[in-house]
């Protein structure tokens, strides 16, 4: 295979060109991550005068702590719900827009808008919509006999953050699914139509299998999104409550570290979170990719 290679006469130049990006990665990612790993093995006194090396104590305590295990479980529920909801709706919208001829651009623009909204704003938006005393949705839910109260009801609070987090992610999934659907050759759809396959069957037997690389990619992105990027949504709506019902792993890291100032345990939690995401990504690539066709 011939690959295009650029040869530099100066041996330093390539490193110099890479330096800015490497410096940013080093300062903002590698260094803090290393700091987290380091402090996860240490205990600091309340006034920050001394640190003691404590080995795996933080990890042992965490894994025996029912609060942490609860949070792990809640995060799993949260991640699966957001991913499924955002992907299914994203795909549904993409399939709908793909069938439009003239107004497709208009709807695409509308559907992509939420992605431009900052997570905190998205959270606040849904918080208002679901507001127990002034919100629009509780008013309608009341008619179905549901007394909405995410300040007291943990399930309601969880639903609120799932909806808010998924809402933002739908736009992203929608764009990728739409691009994927539009790259399915028209003649394949026509051939399937002649082969006696209706629109719904065509979607499930032709388009969807051809979308599997996109689906796989989005799956990983969505899980990572819910694990890491949903902190602002939780913070702006429920603040992890009530009674820690919406304290996801990433929110717990913040609470224990910055609110509780238990830096050692907080660091250990970030390390564990990082390991979980790495493991998930590995599993996804290893096993799910095998079933990705085409």
């Amino acid at each position: 295979m011939d690959t295009k290679r650029t040869t530099f006469n100066n041996r330093l130049l390539p490193y110099l060109l890479l330096a800015p990006q490497l410096a940013i990665t080093l300062v903002f990612f590698i260094w803090p991550a290393a700091q987290a790993v380091k402090s996860s093995f240490e205990r600091e006194d309340p006034f920050g005068f001394s640190t003691v090396f404590v080995g795996f104590t933080h990890y042992q305590r965490l894994l025996a702590d029912p609060n942490y295990l609860d949070s792990l479980w809640r995060t799993a529920v949260f991640a699966v719900s957001v991913t499924v909801l955002a992907m299914v709706l994203g795909l549904a919208f993409a399939a709908a827009v793909d069938r439009l001829a003239r107004s497709a651009k208009f709807y695409t623009t509308l559907l992509v808008w939420p992605y431009a909204v900052a997570p905190v704003v998205a959270g606040v938006l849904w918080w208002f919509l679901f507001n127990t005393s002034t919100g629009l949705l509780p008013y309608f839910l009341e008619r179905f006999g549901i007394r909405w109260d995410h300040d007291l009801n943990g399930t309601h609070a969880m639903i609120l953050i799932i909806v808010a987090a998924a809402w933002k992610q739908i736009s992203y999934n929608f764009l990728f699914f739409l691009a994927g659907l539009q790259s399915v050759p028209q003649s394949l759809i026509e051939a399937a139509a002649i082969d006696g396959s209706g629109p719904v069957k065509r979607f499930f037997t032709i388009s969807l299998p051809l979308l599997s690389p996109t689906t796989f990619f989005l799956f990983i992105i969505n899980v990572n999104y819910t694990m890491f990027d949903t902190f602002p949504i939780v913070d702006a709506t429920t603040g992890g409550g009530p009674a820690q019902a919406t304290t996801t792993l990433v929110y717990k890291v913040y609470q224990d570290g910055y609110v509780g100032l238990n830096l050692g345990s907080s660091s250990a939690q970030s390390v564990l979170l990082m390991l979980i995401v790495m493991l998930l990504t590995f599993v996804q690539f290893r096993f799910v990719e095998r079933r990705v066709q085409y």
Binding site: S187, E190, A191, A193, I194, G196, S197, I206, L210
Partner: protein
């Protein structure tokens, strides 16, 4: 098995572009019809209207005496072979062939029998477990054909199926398509822009230009009696020479030269004169000749094409490779081999019909 009747079919796109303009073709059961024309002539649009992939703006399409204007493609009992084959990339060859049958609820045993039979016919049995991407262009083409065959439809529709193949494979696949169609006896409509493909495959060919039919006829009819200058220049390779001529009674003036027509003149005045390259010969010493200024020659092996001018008009002649080339040559042709077209409309002028003369043995040919 069924005939297809296309009656005054038109296609108007949004914005008023008329892609197909009142086209009528009667296709009898088992006939192989080729739609041929340059790109943008409406041939693919017409085929897609028969398939049901385009709506019909006007007129009527009947398949097996049933009006199908508003029938879904799936229910028209047709199969189509696409230019890019349109094989389902995520399915094996077997499933590609079986897909249409499965959708119609055919029994497993029947599907298996039909797929096996089609695969055997097309010699793709050993590839049934492969995915399309693991096949060569020619093999993919066969799978696409197989997908049409297994369905046992009333009609095959081919949309430039060979244009993605290399020249050699195209010739052999052309033969195979013809052989298969003869064997199955299925009514077929075949779209191509390649006049050679059209000539060799067609029972009858339909020459389209600008959304209208220029001529329908058997390949030799179209070749020997083109209905217009468009057909004359489109069918046959090299293209028919079309030059401006002046008729004076029984004499034809082409540039500086005069040719006696022996009663073949259809009219008088200015006409477009057509003559095929192979109907031109090097003049004998004793006959009336046109002075030909040679520009260049192309060697085809069995023939040699000489390009040059008579007066200020371009002429191409096909001559034997034994003939010696010279910068100035004398050429001649039989008056009976000339075609006359109206200068205004480009339509063939009646009166001189060499093709009919040749096809009907009673008519003495000079």
């Amino acid at each position: 098995m069924a005939g297809i009747h296309i009656a005054e079919v038109s296609k108007v796109y949004a914005g008023g572009v008329k892609a197909v303009n009142s086209v009528s073709i009667d296709i009898t059961d088992g006939e192989f019809i080729v739609l041929v024309g340059p790109s943008g002539c409406g041939k693919s649009t017409l085929l897609r209207m028969v398939a049901g992939l385009e709506t019909i703006s006007g007129g009527q399409v009947k398949i097996a005496d049933r009006v199908v204007n508003n029938v879904e493609p799936a229910d028209r009992d047709i199969a189509m072979v696409f230019q890019n084959y349109a094989l389902y990339p995520h399915m094996t060859v077997y499933n590609n062939l079986a897909y249409g049958l499965k959708n119609r609820g055919t029994s497993k045993a029947e599907i298996d029998a039909r797929v096996t039979e089609a695969a055997r016919m097309l010699e793709i049995t050993q590839y049934l477990d492969r995915k399309p991407r693991a096949l060569s262009g020619g093999q993919r083409q066969r799978v696409a054909m197989g997908r049409a065959i297994v369905r046992k439809p009333a009609a095959f529709l081919f949309d430039e199926p060979l244009s993605n193949l290399d020249a050699k494979l195209r010739v052999s696949m052309r033969g195979e398509i013809k052989r298969l169609q003869r064997r199955l006896g299925t009514t077929s409509i075949y779209v191509t822009h390649d006049q050679l493909e059209a000539m060799t495959l067609a029972d009858r060919l339909v020459v389209l230009n600008g959304g209208r039919i220029e001529q329908i006829g058997r390949p030799l009819e179209v070749y020997h009696a083109p209905a217009s200058t468009f057909v004359a220049s489109f069918i046959g390779s090299p293209a028919m020479n079309l030059v401006k001529g002046e008729l004076h009674g029984d004499k034809l003036a082409i540039g500086p030269a005069m040719v006696v027509l022996n009663g073949f003149a259809p009219t008088s005045g200015t006409v477009t004169v057509g003559v095929r390259a192979e109907d031109i010969r090097i003049a004998r010493a004793d006959e009336e000749a046109l002075p030909f200024r040679l520009e260049y020659a192309e060697e085809l092996g069995a023939q040699r094409l000489i390009h040059g001018t008579v007066g200020d008009q371009q002429i191409t002649a096909a001559v034997s490779p034994e003939i010696e080339l010279a910068p100035e040559m004398q050429i001649a042709f039989d008056a009976s081999r000339l075609h006359f077209f109206s200068v205004d409309t480009g339509k063939r002028l009646p009166g001189n019909l060499p093709a009919e003369a040749k096809l009907a043995p009673i008519e003495p040919v000079v």
